[in-house]
């Protein structure tokens, strides 16, 4: 019996999602009275550090994971889970985690729940909470199988340092031949991806055109935030579609979501209403977004956004 956590290491580095998943695995293991074991696939910088977030051991498989191949990754996690007798497998609610979830459910005869945002309730059985309808509601889901597979929604359970570096081992597994070949990646460098971002600055049609986005980027830069946009903005090609948040885009739950020039259609709110704090900047006092906001500024965003940027600059300078 154990909890297995796949600790993601994009480009060889562990970031917040890996620490969140390991710490979640640690809390789950504690609830079940067992241990949390982290699994690392491919070259990685200092896997032993995962012990700091609660892993009691790290299994590191170095060969054969330089490029993502769904069948190889699936085979690796499956075989490790079987060898260590894992009864819970924790993944991030990320492109990799979501891609593996269904396959693991099949291979391990496991019940699967995606986008979990609570520590499992193990009082009677095993149940977790997840957002449904892109955050318009929360469902409590119980899993009835011996083995459970979960993807953990980002920014749900803050990672905490609870231990120190641990031993790193390897395991013998057999990988199938890769059937896919990764030929390239095109990602924005140096930006925290939206699902992981704690601070998000988002803008909508009120921006009037893509040439005006400089003030949004300035505000995001001074905050260290990630930029996002509403659906019409992505649809008209003003911004790349991976920035689109909402019911048919990315659902996020940052600590701070600043929305400028977004009216707040129900589909947009669905993707962002789990944010801890929402600031809405809109010149229309009737904008429905104000009802979902914590702080509102009813004025022209072309005045407010640069003023806010300056105010944050002075705040940062004096702190």
């Amino acid at each position: 019996m154990s909890v297995l956590v796949l600790a993601e290491n994009p480009k060889g580095n562990f970031k917040k999602p890996a620490f969140e998943a390991v710490h979640y695995g640690h809390l789950t293991a504690k609830a079940l009275g067992t241990e949390c074991i982290a699994l690392v696939l491919g070259s990685a910088d200092n896997p032993a550090q995962l012990g700091e977030y609660g892993a009691s051991k790290v299994i590191h498989l170095t060969e054969g994971f330089d490029a993502y191949d769904s069948r190889r990754y699936l085979a690796a996690v499956t075989q490790v889970a079987q060898q260590i007798g894992a009864n819970v497998v924790v993944l991030n609610h990320s492109s990799t985690g979501k891609s593996l979830l269904g396959g693991l459910a099949v291979k391990l005869n496991a019940g699967a729940v995606s986008g979990v945002n609570s520590i499992p309730n193990t009082d009677s059985g095993f149940s977790v909470n997840k957002n449904v309808f892109a955050g318009k509601a929360i469902a409590e889901v119980s899993i009835n199988t011996d083995v459970k597979v979960l993807t953990l929604m980002g920014n749900s359970i803050p990672p905490e340092q609870v231990g120190s570096a641990v031993e790193v081992e390897s395991l013998q597994i057999e990988l199938p031949e890769a059937k896919t070949t990764v030929t390239g990646q095109n990602t924005v460098a140096g930006v925290v991806p939206l699902p992981e971002a704690e601070l998000v600055v988002s803008a909508g049609r009120g921006m009037k055109g893509p040439e005006n986005w400089g003030i949004i980027e300035d505000l995001a830069n001074v905050l260290g935030a990630t930029t996002a946009c509403s659906r019409p903005v992505a649809d008209t090609g003003w911004r790349p579609h991976h920035e689109h948040v909402g019911q048919t885009g990315v659902a996020i739950r940052p600590n701070l979501y600043i929305a400028a020039g977004i009216s707040g259609a129900i589909q947009h709110l669905a993707g962002v209403n789990s944010s801890k704090t929402i600031v809405v900047i809109n010149k229309d006092p009737e904008a429905p977004f104000f009802k979902a906001a914590d702080y509102g500024v009813c004025a022209d965003l072309f005045d407010v956004v640069p003023a806010l940027t300056e105010a944050i600059k002075s705040f940062k300078a004096s702190n």
């Binding site: 769904s70 449904v132 669905a270 702080y295």
Partner: protein
């Protein structure tokens, strides 16, 4: 090219979501085809068929009332349709029912939407790929196929990853894979005569169950800040909300 597209039915995106106990209140809810299935998966499958010839079959796991959604897929251009006659409560059931139908039919690509917009599971595609033992190309926002090799752009955190694949695979469609098509009158008329096969469901049990629903805590109410006083907003974000 022999293509299968999984389609499902979801509440329309503007629906007011409410629950009584652990059941979703369906009164006044209008249903649509899941947008990722309709706008992206189905349309890209049709485009590949137009390019390489072949057939596009749509499959739905659900009760007879889902025929509306299936007829719409036929009106948009699918050649024929299958409905597995059962009311599933989990992704596992859906995946097994689709697999049971598809396993001996040699589909080149099985398409799904990247997730449903109601339960946001994103599970069926990965389950199907594992059951069929084929690669799973998830969150595809671009797909080209030269008849032998497919080139797929998958959405990953902050961008895309490009991969090539030989042989059959399962793909989940995200935004950008295709442009929405509106069915025309001719399509709607033809859809009525296209074959819709109803097959009986085999025994598959659910292994997860939703035991309750709740709504997110309501916001305390918005605090309006004077546009001339952004220093005050920054102070509140720091001292009250503690987010910066």
């Amino acid at each position: 090219m022999n293509l299968l597209v999984c389609v499902t039915k979801t509440p329309e995106t503007t629906s007011k979501i409410s629950f009584t106990g652990n059941s979703f209140n369906t009164e006044g809810i209008s249903y649509i085809m899941n947008p990722y299935d309709e706008w992206y998966a189905l349309v890209r499958a049709l485009e590949l068929k137009e390019q390489h010839s072949g057939t596009v079959t749509v499959i739905n796991v659900g009760p007879a009332e889902n025929d509306v959604v299936i007829r719409k897929a036929l009106a948009i251009g699918a050649d024929d349709a299958v409905r597995v006659d059962t009311t599933p409560t989990s992704a596992k059931e859906v995946a097994h029912h689709v697999f049971n139908y598809a396993k001996d039919k040699a589909y080149d690509i099985v398409f799904c939407g990247k997730e449903t917009i109601d339960y946001n599971g994103a599970e069926v595609g990965g389950m199907l790929a594992a059951l069929m033992d084929v690669p799973y190309l998830s969150f595809a926002s671009k797909l080209d196929h030269d008849g032998t090799v497919a080139t797929v752009e998958r959405d990953i955190e902050g961008g895309v990853e490009v991969a090539t694949v030989n042989g059959p695979f399962v793909l989940s469609a995200s935004k950008g894979l295709a442009e929405q098509r509106i069915p025309n009158m001719r399509g709607i008329m033809m859809a009525k005569r296209k074959p819709l096969e109803v097959v009986a469901a085999q025994d598959v049990s659910a292994d997860v169950a939703t035991t309750g629903y709740s709504l997110p805590a309501a916001k305390a109410g918005v605090k309006m800040i004077d546009a001339e006083n952004m220093t005050e907003l920054v102070r509140l974000l720091h001292e009250e909300a503690k987010v910066i």
